[in-house]
């Protein structure tokens, strides 16, 4: 067998096993809408950990982090900086969000806005913005899958056919398994990823330099400024680091899929304990940075830093090992993709189509429509993946800047009684407008500050000012639950 055949066979075998686990776990429960989206709200600590890890450790962990260490250097440290802080923020927000979710039967992030602010139009707007931000994140995962197949096939299979292949697989996977199936596939994915990261992160510096310390010495000698911010970039200095860590730490659980995942937990305490231990899981991140730096010394001059990890693995290890790493990488793209698609499809079907256009639709109708939307969402991401050439981290930061704009609406919504519907709406519109304006005109970072962070500050100010200028509203989270899952709920009028 040729090296590419060996590598690809092993990669596809691992993907096949993962998909089978998902189908099996998914078909064991009757698929109602609630079961499909939030797993019947019965996830304990372990399954919750798996679901969260499934969403957090994505292709980005695998390829993007090493890619940034390779091409940017010092600024990549923000990745180790923000992850523990994101969980720290979740410690304070998710338990309260969960309480409101259980009380009012919420399934999506937009449901929260619907109940808290009592407007189906705000909820639909939030859902729409959420879907728009999910598309680049999904594109990131599909691009990562494409890169894996491209490298594992030694260039034999192009990126576009690889991505189309991945698209079909992921869409089918989501269709049948729902959130519970996805959480179980995380078991296989996380074991493989942990093994791969530990092994590759330690072995590669050891093979080429005799250890991690000597590897750093070599990098410092060859590129004295690479490891300190702004590293190989001009404008990613300390102010960029602080504002980016801030934005991503606060934006992290504003991703509709991460926020929505909290509704799958069994109790608020599960979420708190999860937040305490999760930072330990980030230990794979520095290892990925080590790989990127090793690659910088061993295979300099790659056009795309995101290729560095796999290219170095291919150069160093036998094909079967490349296949193993490729398989682990493919699952780390598929699991988060599945969750992203599931979330976007539910948001679209439930909070946009039903609540705004067809209030009489039954839960079964919504579930059916959501499944149809799976195809639409995946196709949109596939289309933009084929027609764009942004780096993985750039895509991620773009989505983050967008979703972070939900932060004032969520946090003030939970903990403040004075915030009003016009306030949140005004803040959200301004925040998004500023983000889009700065990003599309190529002004990120803006004078050394993360553009999304600036937008978030303006958003907070707008929300505050407009809320104080508008009449007080009732605190609807305290109201008696309206039974959101049934048609004819008063908020959907």
């Amino acid at each position: 067998m040729s090296p590419s055949a060996v590598a690809l066979t092993i990669t596809f075998f691992i993907v096949g096993v993962g998909t089978a686990i998902g189908f099996y776990a998914g078909t064991r429960h009757k698929m109602t809408l609630e079961q499909w989206t939030v797993g019947g709200r019965g996830f304990g600590l372990i399954l919750m950990w798996l679901l969260m890890a499934g969403e957090i450790y994505t292709t980005f962990t695998f390829l993007g982090a090493s890619g940034w260490a390779y091409s940017r250097g010092g600024p990549a440290l923000y990745i180790i900086g923000y992850q523990p802080l994101a969980f720290l923020v979740s410690f304070f927000i998710l338990p309260a969000a969960w309480e409101s979710g259980r009380k009012h039967g919420l399934q999506t992030q937009a449901d929260f806005f619907l109940v808290r602010y009592g407007s189906k139009y705000l909820a639909a707007f939030v859902a729409l913005l959420g879907v728009i931000c999910i598309v680049p994140y999904l594109q990131l995962q599909l691009t990562g899958l494409g890169i894996i197949v491209e490298v594992a096939s030694f260039g034999g299979i192009g990126r576009t056919p690889a991505m189309i292949c991945a698209f079909t697989l992921v869409a089918g996977f989501v269709f049948f398994s729902g959130v519970r199936g996805v959480a179980w596939v995380s078991v296989l994915k996380d074991i493989l990823l942990l093994f791969a990261a530990l092994f590759v992160g330690i072995a590669l510096p050891y093979i080429y330099f005799g250890g991690i310390g000597p590897m750093f010495t070599a990098v410092i000698q060859a590129h004295p400024n690479h490891l300190m911010m702004p590293g190989a970039t001009k404008n990613l200095g300390h102010s960029w680091y602080i504002t980016s860590v801030f934005l991503t730490a606060f934006g992290f659980f504003m991703w509709p899929q991460n926020f929505g995942a909290s509704y799958s937990a069994k109790s608020a305490d599960t979420l708190r304990r999860n937040a305490v231990v999760m930072p330990l899981y980030s230990i794979t991140m520095p290892l990925m940075l080590f790989v990127g730096l090793t690659a910088l010394m061993v295979i300099p001059g790659l056009s795309n830093g995101d290729l560095s990890l796999l290219t170095l693995v291919r150069k160093t290890f036998p094909p079967w090992f490349l296949g193993l790493i490729g398989g682990a990488g493919a699952l780390t793209a598929m699991v988060p993709s599945a969750i992203l698609i599931l979330t976007a499809a539910t948001l679209f079907a439930k909070n946009i189509c039903r609540d705004v256009f067809a209030p009489d639709m039954t839960d079964q109708g919504v579930a059916l429509l959501a499944k149809a939307m799976v195809l639409v969402v995946t196709a949109a991401a596939l289309f933009s993946a084929i027609h764009s050439s942004l780096s993985l981290v750039s895509l991620l930061l773009m989505g983050y800047a967008g979703v972070a704009q939900f932060f004032p609406g969520v946090v003030l919504g939970l903990f403040s009684r004075r915030v009003t519907l016009p306030g949140v709406f005004a803040g959200l519109v301004t925040g998004f407008a500023v983000t889009v304006l700065l990003m599309l005109s190529g002004r990120d970072p803006f004078h050394g500050l993360n553009a999304g962070f600036l937008a978030l500050c303006i958003n907070f100010m707008m929300t505050g000012i407009v809320s104080y200028c508008t009449p007080e509203e009732p605190y609807r989270l305290d109201a008696a639950p309206a039974g959101l899952t049934h048609a004819g709920n008063p908020y959907a009028l």
């Binding site: 900086g81 523990p84 802080l85 304070f92 309260a96 300190m228 937040a275 305490v276 930072p279 520095p286």
Partner: protein, 74 residues
Amino acid sequence: MKRPSLGAVLWALIPFAGTCFSVALWDRIDPRIFGLPFSFFWLISWLFLTPLCMWRAYRIETKQDRLQRKDGRG
């Protein structure tokens, strides 16, 4: 919703100060510790120190919850 207690928030501020705002103090290569540049060593340490701080925050929050529940019954 119940707001988080001040003690828990204060414990949470420690990792924030350690890894975010203080970047200018630790973004350096020397002293190297275990062969790692200082910045890498510093951030990796916080992967372990953050759960410790948050465990303290957790104790404070759960203690408050218990007290409240008792009050509610009494």
